[in-house]
């Protein structure tokens, strides 16, 4: 839903109030930055697309090169870091006194970055008119993703939504119609049973469980049933409450029926790519990989995340936002200029067509100058875009033990879904108490 200007002003006031109450981290910055970069400056960009061989790195280098050509005063040094070690690396470099100016930060880490890594809120350093002008045209839900307690700490950059990929050939073999993919979990179950009966493929794989999955898919599933892992104020764990328990019981039912198996994340991905799995609920970011595996083997299709009956689906995103860590005003301006370029129409054109993430400026899909032509050859993006308006933020866990809270929660979820003890409510209640103790 669009955020009106007055609402934004109100958010800023409340943020100022929070600042006054000392809720802001030690790095709060209120001085404005220069309007342009007039002297040569160098900034470091900690980026995880650069750490992958292939499209991600090439596209990012291309964008950096285009940016540097347009801004001769600014030199960008890309620092490639694997996504799972990004936080460690930024923290280590800050401790070691290495300059960290701009980062591509996963949404899960926003809170930690704000509290510990010197992240700078955009509202604190950029004039309001400039911010509004840039935000105009971006999906409001997308902007919300990088906001915490009212301020924009991360500008949503690459992101993807959960998608239900499915193997049309296996559907046909099981007697299902590939043009009518399951829209609810009940339909997933009945489709899964048919697939299990008629084929020897794995009916459903998901990216829900596993340490690397953290809690991002689970948040969407719980929310779609009216539950959630943590409450709105982010002070109380609520995943043992009835709505959440019911969602996990649904998953347990799928596991008990043999529709879902407790495989590790990579096995599930590769099983789908190999054509040995019928349905796969996972981030749309892996789409390219699946397309390449499917070529010449089977027909790959995609559908939105399933719903719980009539309740609206409330998926959340995965991906990254751009965060400024620089404290020097000139570097902040340079970093902001780069951020603006990367999230401009041109930037998203490259991000979507070459790396494979969603464009947060939907208008470029209709514009032949940008992605108008490309979208005709890539229909799999449609279900993704349709979900864009339904996206909700991935809520980060609070405090220094955020990862341990998530691990405690998800370990219990996994146990409740696949374990021999079927007392889902009891297992979750026990874990909730333990996770609650880890909240500051």
């Amino acid at each position: 839903m669009p955020i009106s200007l007055t609402r934004r002003a109100a958010l800023r006031l409340s943020a100022a109030g929070a600042l006054a109450l000392g809720a802001a981290p030690a790095f709060a910055q209120t001085a404005a930055i220069p309007a342009t970069v007039t002297e040569p400056v160098e900034i470091t960009f900690y980026n995880y697309n650069l750490s992958s061989a292939g499209n991600g790195a090439e596209a990012t280098k291309k964008m950096i090169a285009e940016f540097e050509a347009a801004h001769p005063n600014i030199k960008v040094t890309g620092v490639p870091v694997a996504p799972q070690s990004l936080m460690t690396r930024i923290q280590a470099d800050l401790v070691a006194g290495q300059p960290v100016d701009l980062s591509q930060m996963g949404f899960m880490g926003i809170d930690f970055a704000v509290q510990n890594l010197g992240a700078v809120a955009l509202e604190d350093i950029i004039p309001a008119e400039e911010l509004d002008a840039h935000f105009d045209g971006m999906v409001p839900n997308g902007l919300e993703l990088g906001r915490l307690d009212g301020k924009t700490w991360g500008l949503a950059y690459t992101f993807s939504t959960p998608v239900l990929f499915y193997n049309a050939d296996l559907f046909r073999a099981a007697g299902l119609d590939p043009d009518q993919p399951p829209a609810t979990w009940a339909e997933v179950k009945s489709a899964g049973l048919k697939i299990r009966e008629k084929t020897d493929a794995l009916p459903l794989a998901t990216g829900i469980f596993g340490p690397s999955a953290v809690d991002w898919l689970m948040q969407g599933i719980l929310r779609s049933n009216g539950g959630m892992t943590i409450d709105e104020s982010r002070t109380k764990m609520i995943f043992a409450e009835p709505a959440s328990v019911e969602a996990v019981e649904m998953l347990r039912d799928l596991a008990d029926e043999g529709i879902m198996e407790n495989l590790d994340v990579t096995s599930q991905l590769e099983g789908m790519a190999a054509g040995a799995t019928a349905m796969y609920l996972q981030t749309s970011a892996i789409q390219g990989h699946l397309i390449r595996g499917a070529e010449g083997n089977y027909e790959l299709r995609a559908a939105p995340m399933p719903a719980f009956g009539d309740k609206p689906v409330r998926p959340n995103n995965s991906g990254s936002s751009l965060m400024i860590h620089a404290q020097d005003p000139v570097k902040q301006r340079a970093a902001w200029e780069l951020m603006k370029f990367l999230t401009s129409k041109r930037g998203y054109t490259i991000v979507t067509s070459e790396i494979g993430y969603l464009p947060l400026r939907p208008e470029i899909l209709d514009d032949p100058e940008f992605l108008g032509e490309w979208v005709k050859d890539h229909p799999l993006i449609e279900p993704n875009m349709a979900q864009l308006s339904k996206l909700e933020p991935w809520v980060p866990m609070p405090g220094p033990n955020y990862l341990q809270i998530i691990t405690t929660t998800m370990d219990a979820m996994e146990q409740a879904t696949f374990g021999s003890d079927d007392d889902v409510a009891g297992i979750l209640a026990d874990a909730q108490a333990r996770a609650q103790r880890l909240i500051p």
Partner: protein, 293 residues
């Protein structure tokens, strides 16, 4: 057990001939032994063979079961070489691995000699301190070491990859024990002839530990070659990194590029295999081969 036989037989010059009687009796044992060895060798080699075969397959056939790809091609190799700076990385890795091997052998020899030849206060405690370094996983020391490297100005250099590995508990303990097993009489004889400890170490003991030194060198080289977490923390530019970082670049958040990864890792495995083939010749019956002086 005494080594009187040593005095009797001119050392190393006469290789004992196998008694024919023992050989015949072991006939069927040897047969079974060979069968088991063949099975074991197959188990060892098959997955590596699979790695090579997969590197020759196109992306949509990665998971096929065929023992040889229908359409074998080198396109994964071409892609791997273009996607990462393989040449530079191989060179870097080779430099680091060679340096670490040489230095660890040196510190290991010195420390091993000290432990095996002399009794001194605190020897037991120091030996324990050496062994206990095995219990300290990298993640614990990673950040303080990173800070130290940054303060020394070694970020983005190969020195940072070499310096923390100047000594290794494995090298020290293995060499200490190998030297301890060295016949004391030989050393005594040399010492009585006026040899200094340095002479004893370098001219008497070490030439006869060639097997141990060679195998240790191979293993240190491999362990450094395959090291991942520490180089990962230090890597800033791929051209200055080691080959494991390059391999990891094919494992992305959007799915792993298996074909190029297998190709790159086949290429990365070849130097180690070469080092092994060169050095393993030393691991043969090397007992007292070069005589006493």
């Amino acid at each position: 057990m005494t080594t009187d036989a040593l005095a009797a037989a001119p050392a190393g010059l006469v290789r004992p001939r196998r008694a024919p009687r023992a050989r015949a009796a072991a006939g069927w044992e040897t047969g079974v032994g060979h069968a088991l060895m063949v099975l074991l060798s197959l188990v060892c080699v098959f997955p590596v063979y699979w790695m090579i075969v997969t590197s020759l397959r196109p992306e949509n056939a990665i998971f096929s079961n065929a023992l040889w790809p229908d359409a074998a091609s080198l396109e994964n190799y071409a892609y791997a070489l273009s996607a990462i700076p393989m040449g530079a990385m191989l060179v870097n890795t080779f430099v680091v691995a060679t340096a670490v091997t040489a230095i660890q052998l040196l510190t290991g020899i010195l420390a091993g000699y000290a432990f095996s030849r002399w009794r001194f206060p605190g020897a037991g405690a120091l030996m324990a301190a050496v062994a206990l370094t095995w219990l300290v996983p990298l993640q614990v020391v990673m950040i303080p070491n990173y800070l130290l490297v940054a303060n020394l100005g070694l970020i983005d250099t190969l020195g940072a990859l070499i310096l923390p590995h100047v000594a290794s508990a494995f090298a020290i303990l293995l060499l200490a024990q190998a030297m301890r097993s060295f016949p004391r009489e030989v050393i005594e004889a040399a010492r009585m002839d006026g040899a200094s400890h340095a002479h004893v170490l370098w001219q008497v003991v070490l030439p006869n530990l060639r097997g141990t030194l060679a195998s240790l060198a191979i293993l240190i080289f491999i362990s450094t070659w395959n090291e991942y977490f520490w180089p990962l923390l230090l890597s800033r530019r791929p051209e200055n990194s080691v080959v494991q970082i390059g391999l990891q670049m094919f494992v992305t958040a959007e799915g792993t590029a298996w074909g190029p990864l297998m190709a790159a890792s086949t290429l990365a495995s070849l130097p180690i295999l070469a080092i092994y083939l060169v050095l393993q010749r030393q691991v043969i019956s090397s007992f007292m081969k070069s005589g006493l002086r």
